[in-house]
C-alpha cells in the first residue's frame, strides 16, 4: 500500500513537471481508415472513445478560451469514419467546428458526410442549414439545406418555414429567433439547449434595445431633449412601466440616449446594449435553461 501511495505521489509530481504533457495535441494515428482496420471490427467502441476525446478536447479548449481547435476536425473525422451512423458527432460536431472552432467549411464537410451516410436524418440538414445561415451568411445554401431536409417524411415542420424564410429574407431577427427556438425545442442536450436559450435571450435584448432607442429618439424629436430616465418616456405615454431584460434586470438609460443592459456578462451573444468598448467574456450558459 505504501508503495502504491508512493507511486501515486511521484506520478503527480511528474505531471506537475511536465505540464500539459498528458493532454498533448497529438494524434498518434491520424488515418481514420487505418484505425478502422486496427479496431478488429470493434469500431463502434473506438468511435465512442474518439467522440469522447473530441468532446473533452473541445470542452478543455473552450474552458481555456483557446482560439485554435486544430485537433477538433481530425478527431471528428476519425469518429465519423469509424462509425458513420454516430449522429451526435454530426449534430454537435458541426456546432463545435463552426461556432467555436472557427471552421465553418469543415463543419459543412462533416455535415455533408453525415447526410451521405444517413440521408433520412432531418437534423443533419438542419445543422447544415444552420451553419450556412449563421456562420457563413449564405442564405441561398441555407434555404437549400432546409428544403432538402423538409422533404424527409419525419422532418420537423419548421424546416419548410425556415427554408421559405431563408429564401425570402435571410438575415433578419425573426428568422434567427425561429432557428434558435427550433433548436431549443428539439435538442435533448442541456448544453445545446442552454446555448439556444442564451441566443434567444440575446435576440430579445437586441430587439428591446432597438425598440427602446427608437422611443428615446421619438421622445427627443417630440420634446427637443433626451429623456433622463424611463419615467420620462412613461410620462410621455411612450412606455408602460420600466423595461426589464430577459433575466429580469432593468435596462439602463444612458445620458447620451443609449440603452444598456445592467450585467452584460450574463447575456452572452448580445449585439446591442453593451457599454462602449465592451469585450464580452467567453460565453457560459446557464445549466438550468
Amino acid at each position: 500500500m505504501s508503495c502504491l501511495a508512493g507511486s501515486v505521489l511521484l506520478l503527480r509530481r511528474i505531471d506537475r513537471q511536465r505540464t500539459g504533457a498528458t493532454l498533448e495535441e497529438v494524434l498518434y494515428i491520424s488515418s481514420p481508415k487505418l484505425l478502422k482496420h486496427l479496431s478488429l471490427g470493434y469500431d463502434g467502441l473506438l468511435a465512442d472513445i474518439y467522440w469522447t476525446r473530441a468532446v473533452q478536447y473541445f470542452g478543455d479548449k473552450l474552458d481555456k478560451g483557446a482560439e485554435h481547435y486544430d485537433l477538433l476536425g481530425p478527431l471528428l473525422e476519425i469518429t465519423t469514419t469509424l462509425d458513420p451512423h454516430l449522429l451526435v458527432a454530426y449534430e454537435y460536431g458541426t456546432n463545435f467546428l463552426a461556432a467555436n472552432g472557427g471552421q465553418p467549411r469543415r463543419a459543412i464537410q462533416l455535415s455533408e458526410f453525415g447526410i451521405r451516410n444517413n440521408p433520412n436524418e432531418w437534423r443533419l440538414y438542419y445543422g447544415l442549414g444552420f451553419v450556412y445561415y449563421l456562420d457563413l451568411k449564405e442564405y441561398g445554401n441555407a434555404a437549400d439545406a432546409f428544403l432538402r431536409g423538409s422533404r424527409l417524411p419525419d422532418a420537423h415542420p419548421f424546416l419548410k418555414v425556415l427554408a421559405a424564410q431563408m429564401a425570402e429574407r435571410g438575415g433578419d431577427i425573426q428568422t434567427a429567433r425561429m432557428l434558435w427556438a427550433t433548436t431549443y425545442q428539439t435538442t435533448k442536450d442541456r448544453d445545446i439547449r442552454g446555448n439556444a436559450a442564451a441566443h434567444l435571450r440575446a435576440l430579445q435584448v437586441d430587439d428591446d434595445v432597438t425598440s427602446l432607442e427608437k422611443l428615446v429618439s421619438h421622445y427627443r424629436d417630440k420634446t427637443g431633449h433626451l429623456p433622463q430616465t424611463f419615467s420620462d418616456l412613461e410620462a410621455a405615454n411612450l412606455l408602460r412601466g420600466t423595461p426589464v431584460d430577459p433575466l429580469g434586470h432593468t435596462y439602463k438609460l444612458m445620458p447620451d440616449g443609449r440603452v444598456e443592459v445592467r450585467v452584460p456578462d450574463d447575456l452572452p451573444f448580445i449585439q446591442k446594449g453593451t457599454p462602449p468598448g465592451y469585450i464580452p467574456p467567453k460565453p457560459k450558459f446557464k445549466p438550468e435553461d
Binding site: L40, Y42, L45, D48, T52, D189, D191
Partner: protein, 258 residues
C-alpha cells in the same frame, strides 16, 4: 450426445470454474458499472451506445481470450498431468474426449456470456431507465458472439491437438485477427490474377469469417439484423467449427501419446 461426452464436458466445465475462469465476471461488472455511471459525465449523447458497444466488445474479447487460453491447454494439460492416459484407458474414444472438451469449454463460455449479458442489460436499464424494442437485437449480437466462440474454441482445440500451448495460442490468436479481416482478404483476392488469385481466394475462404459475426455497431444503432443472416451465420459457424473439430479429432486419433 453420449454419456461419456457429457461427463467429459461437465468435468471440463467444473475444471474451468475451479480454475477461477468466471472471475473475469468481476472485472466485467466493474467495467460496465463504471461505464454506465461515468460516460454521461465525460461525453455527450452516447450513454446507450457506449453501454452496448463496450458491453458487447468486452463480452467478445473476454470470451475470445478465455476460449484461446483455456482451449490450448485442454489437451496438453491432460497429457502433462498424465490424466489423459487414465481417461483413455477407460472405454472412451479419442474423438469423444475432444468433442467432450469442446462442449465443456463452449458451455463455460455460454454461462460466462449469460452472466455478462445480464450485466449489459442491467447497465442498459440504468442509462435508459427502460428497455426499447430494439434492445432485443442485442440478444442477436450476443448469439453471434457465442457462434464466434464456437469457432475460436474449435480452432484452439485443433491447434492444441498437435502443437505446444504457446504456439497454439499464437496460431489461434493470429487466426482470430485474420478472421476479422476475412472480407478484406476476399476483396484482395478478387484483385489478383492467375494462380495467385486461386491461392489467395483459397486462403481467404480457409480462415474463419468473423467479420460477418460482428453486428455490435449495427445493434447499437438499433438497426435490425436480417433473419437470413442469423440462419446463414448459424450454419456457417456450425460447419466451420465442425470442420476444425474434425481436424482436431483426426490429428488426435493418429497422435502417438506414448
Amino acid at each position: 450426445m453420449s454419456a461419456r461426452i457429457l461427463h467429459i464436458a461437465s468435468n471440463t466445465f467444473r475444471e474451468a470454474v475451479r480454475d477461477r475462469v468466471l472471475y473475469n465476471l468481476i472485472a466485467f461488472a466493474l467495467l460496465m458499472s463504471g461505464a454506465a455511471i461515468l460516460v454521461g459525465q465525460i461525453s455527450i449523447g452516447i450513454e446507450r451506445l457506449v453501454v452496448i458497444n463496450l458491453g458487447l466488445t468486452a463480452v467478445s474479447l473476454f470470451g475470445v481470450v478465455i476460449a484461446i487460453f483455456i482451449g490450448i491447454g485442454l489437451v496438453s494439460k491432460e497429457i502433462d498431468k498424465r490424466t489423459l492416459y487414465t481417461v483413455l484407458s477407460r472405454p472412451v474414444q479419442r474423438w469423444e474426449f475432444i468433442i467432450g472438451k469442446f462442449f465443456g469449454l463452449a458451455g463455460t463460455l455460454v454461462v460466462n456470456t449469460f452472466f455478462m449479458a445480464l450485466g449489459v442489460f442491467a447497465a442498459l436499464l440504468y442509462v435508459s431507465q427502460h428497455f426499447h424494442a430494439a434492445d432485443g437485437w442485442v440478444l442477436v449480437a450476443l448469439y453471434f458472439i457465442i457462434l464466434q466462440f464456437l469457432i475460436i474454441t474449435a480452432l484452439a482445440l485443433l491447434f492444441s491437438s498437435f502443437s505446444s500451448p504457446l504456439l497454439s495460442a499464437v496460431f489461434a490468436f493470429a487466426l482470430f485477427v485474420i478472421g476479422t479481416f476475412a472480407e478484406d482478404l476476399r476483396g484482395f483476392a478478387g484483385m489478383t490474377h492467375g494462380i495467385t488469385r486461386w491461392l489467395a481466394t483459397g486462403a481467404a475462404y480457409l480462415v474463419p469469417n468473423l467479420s460477418a459475426l460482428n453486428v455490435i455497431s449495427s445493434v447499437a444503432h438499433e438497426q435490425p439484423v436480417p433473419g437470413q443472416l442469423i440462419l446463414s451465420n448459424t450454419a456457417y459457424a456450425l460447419v466451420y467449427a465442425s470442420m476444425a473439430l474434425c481436424g482436431a479429432v483426426l490429428i488426435f486419433e493418429h497422435r502417438n501419446l506414448k
